[in-house]
Symmetry: C2
């Protein structure tokens, strides 16, 4: 491709609304443009990267025996009503009516549609297993779309759905997909972790996430320092045993804690450790159940664990009105004494004595509170986020924490959808059985964004060669010098003939502009052809990833470039 | 691909709601499934065909210098309001609100979005020309979606937009696209015509349609029997010179024409030729203008010509209420005398005398009516459909009529969108100028459907090899015979190694089932491997298109298949 005939509108400045690195760099490198909140144009170079990711995904999905289909983006409400998700799914499901006033939605995920295909076409155990996948533009009406392609509303996703006769079959399909995903992210040239995950709104038995590791990631991954255990923070259990505190029970005292906003403030003021200040959170679980959950002051609440423990579709913080109604007190001063809701507590509270709680009254805390004596706890469980240093449930090692970006998620669904939508097959004995399902997603744009979060420097993107829009950029640095221009043209054509994806920066621009754009866009290999070095018969080859500069006789340039390219593809 | 591991749910019966051949056959051949009216799943074989068409399009678009991008499916209303189309476009534009109550639509076409990109990124004449295209899933909320992929609501389209500094430049871009389209449809292995067309709702200066010819097509194409002129029926001019009738004017007579429903009825009853019975059509042009248009009884009204003549966004038949209001008479008896609307007439009326018109009264016609004397005509123009035998405007030859399916449409838009959306560039003198645009669409699914309309028989589809889901099908006819199975496997692997797209029907099915499915799906080349012929060391190769059966020594099968494949690709 000749850059003079291409469309690469790079920007010098970071766009004001771009918060994360990948968003900034995709905008600046002319890969995407914003059309509305969370809705983007893919400009030419951005689209090439997207297509490369898609093709890598396609290759390994096909290799794993999955079959590509394409389902519609606009989905009739009937199917979602059958599965029961029409009423459960929140506002992220964009619902609308067509001209005949029939209900439709933009499919954010396609369990219903694919289950409908399979229940109509699959009759017998002989037709199974089957795994259908698609690569499709989806829509989720996120409340706060941001971070560019990282959390868009309209986004490209690969979603696959497996259908098996048995649970064991479904687990094999799940493992096959897990293996295929590992191959996919490796083939993208990315460093990643497979972590245990919560199965969230999709439902089902168990799930794993694929996390691209990056300092700038927004997800926390808990892993073990001595074995291969890894889970996301929503999932990673805290199994450290609680300690029975050995102190006599004291009498409850009411103290004023004026202007003490935080646990730290209260602890310092009262002269107790933070962990002795117990937080009481008032939550709404499911549609209308208000509950209280108590955790230690130095711990973080984990909503996913509460949701799973209660087996409800969602858990949210109660509103100030709901808090007032159930505790008689304001937000920020909730405590367990005298409230009329069920109280749950984190395991860490089990052995605690004489702790501090909110007084359900502005500026008031209570000291020396004890469960059992002063109030009742319905149940103890693990309701907090894991921390570095916590004990690994698998080997007893210690947790460490790293950051990552979720790019893939696989779920064993079981019969959740096949039961509600009556997807059945006849077994060998002619008996009707529910099909056992799994589903498997990869965010295509998110993978491209994650690659940038993992691979960039202050100058721009450092594409893994597998995902780069072009493998090689040729920069003739002196447009007025015939030798420079001729060599650039010759090399360009020779590389093309060798099947190399090469871009020739033939724009009438200064060398500095060409350098900056090349580094911003992040071509893995750059060839500088300048008048001065060419007087010695040399060109300069620069490897973006290492910064290495290689001076090279012009006649050796082609073979040297091919050699570097080969090497980059084979590096881990 | 092994069919036993694939997903090909063929149907024996035609689905009840399928009216046209391509719809029936795509359903029966397991290519598509209906999800809702006008909304389909693409099953694996259907998707392969779609992707083949897309890749052919992509190849020739890139070759013509167009650059691929991808714009969003969900488009903010603001852009459509800027262009003025938000209020003009009918209910086909699916409008909805997001969770924050902001207006959006599903983009049925992307002039606004692409113009927004270009006005933001293009500053100077140096950045032009540019041609951006995308292959995208679009949505048009058709009132009566039908005919499968032929007129769906959700559909895949290639849309391209060219941006030039001058009108001449825009015309060159237009010609380049025209040439690219010819290459595309040729490369799809289709017979097609390029015809002059009306530019319709998209607006702009001129346009051409690409029609795949087919007996079953729903569009009428007018072409010349002696030159290359071709136009669609909306556009083809009728230039036959009118004749001054040489007869004295007679007096108007009022006659009762009870139960005479049609022009033919009235003509027979009154004993005059049909062409002497003049129809007066009451129409609504634009928002509220009621007009009358008169045409000869043996002619057909052409709404597009009226719309263009009046330069209004649309023309519709008036309602019975509107007819009553403007003529004082009922629907079916309108005439020009005594009505209070502007009257236009087709050129053919110019020299007519003493003709029959409606009496604006039930069961009443008027005889011996003459314009000029009895009423006034505001203007004469060409308001009728061309017919076979009309004179070609280019060479004086005669029109013939054929049927076709519109698969592509190209428009020179001029500055319609660049003016309303302020897409400007700075010319060489630093002066602001409007960018001159063109737009170019191909219906991807429609092209696949049109290929079937053009190429099928009573047994099923006859794919042009360029679009076929698989080039070769191997049918082992006796699953229990080791020689048959081994030869099928060997040939399958050898063909794959040669890069042939081959499917092996390794299902445990009777030969008849395999034959029927193969003919239904329409693989261009089929290899029957049966016990009996194999005893003589032979296999049978069948060419779907010609029905030709070739007996062939098993060791020659590979080279024979490759030879036939080569030949099929090179046939016109």
């Amino acid at each position: 491709m000749r850059l003079s005939k291409y469309f690469l509108p790079t920007l010098r400045e970071n766009p004001a609304d771009a918060e994360v690195v990948s968003h900034k760099l995709m905008m600046r490198a002319g890969m995407i443009r914003k059309v509305a909140a969370g809705i983007y144009d893919y400009l030419p170079m951005g689209l090439i990267v997207i297509r490369k990711v898609e093709n890598i995904i396609r290759k390994y999905m096909n290799e794993a025996g999955a079959i590509e289909v394409l389902m519609p983006a606009v989905v009739p409400a009937e199917l979602w009503k059958e599965s029961g998700r029409w009423n459960v799914y929140g506002k992220e499901l964009l619902r609308f009516k067509d001209r005949h006033d029939r209900d439709f939605c933009m499919g954010p995920t396609h369990e219903e549609v694919v289950t409908d295909i399979v229940r109509n076409e699959v009759k017998s155990y002989k037709d199974l297993p089957i795994n259908l996948y698609q690569i499709q533009t989806k829509f989720r009406d996120e409340v706060r779309p941001r971070f560019g392609l990282m959390r868009g509303r309209e986004f490209i996703m690969k979603d696959a759905y497996s259908f098996d006769t048995t649970d064991e079959g479904a687990e094999k399909s799940y493992r096959d997909m897990r293996d295929a995903y590992c191959k996919i992210f490796k083939a993208c040239g990315l460093k990643y972790k497979v972590v245990e995950a919560d199965s969230g709104a999709i439902g089902g038995n168990f799930s794993h996430e694929f996390m691209v590791t990056a300092e700038t990631g927004e997800d926390f991954v808990i892993s073990c320092d001595s074995c291969d255990y890894a889970a996301n923070i929503e999932k990673a259990p805290v199994i450290d045993v609680w300690q029975e505190e050995d102190e006599p029970l004291k009498s409850v005292e009411r103290v004023e804690t004026k202007n003490m906003k935080t646990v730290t403030d209260v602890a310092n003021y009262l002269g107790v450790p933070e962990k002795k200040v117990v937080k009481t959170m008032i939550l709404r679980a499911g549609n209308d159940d208000i509950i209280a959950v108590m955790i230690r002051g130095d711990h973080e609440l984990n909503m996913a664990k509460i949701k799973n423990f209660l087996n409800v579709p969602y858990v949210e913080f109660a509103t100030p009105e709901e808090i007032l109604k159930s505790t008689n007190g304001p937000l920020g001063y909730s405590g367990p004494i005298g409230i009329n809701v069920k109280i749950f507590a984190d395991n860490a509270l089990k052995g605690m004595k004489n702790y501090v709680v909110g007084g359900n009254e502005k500026d008031i805390h209570l000291l020396n509170v004890n469960h059992g004596r002063d109030f009742s706890i319905v149940a103890f469980s693990d309701f907090i986020n894991a921390k570095p240093g916590n004990t690994c449930p698998k080997c007893g090692g210690k947790y460490v924490i790293t950051k990552g970006i979720e790019v893939g998620h696989i779920f064993k669904l079981g019969t959740k959808y096949s039961k509600s939508m009556k997807a059945i097959y006849l077994d060998k004995d002619g008996k009707q059985q529910y099909i056992v399902m799994g589903c498997y997603g990869i965010g295509v744009g998110r993978t491209a964004a994650a690659a940038i979060e993992q691979n960039h420097d202050e100058k721009g993107i450092i594409w893994p060669i597998q995902m780069a829009p072009f493998e090689v950029a040729i920069l003739p640095l002196n447009d007025d010098n015939e030798d420079v221009v001729n060599l650039a043209e010759t090399l360009y054509i020779k590389l093309q003939k060798k099947g190399v994806e090469v871009i020739l920066d033939d724009r009438k621009e200064r060398a500095g502009v060409k350098f900056n754009d090349a580094e911003l866009v992040g071509y893995p290999i750059r060839v500088n052809i300048g008048k001065k070095t060419l007087e010695n018969g040399e060109v300069e080859i620069i490897i973006r990833k290492t910064g290495e500069k290689i001076s090279c006789k012009k006649d050796d340039a082609l073979s040297k470039i091919l050699e570097i390219r080969e090497k980059l593809y084979n590096e881990d």
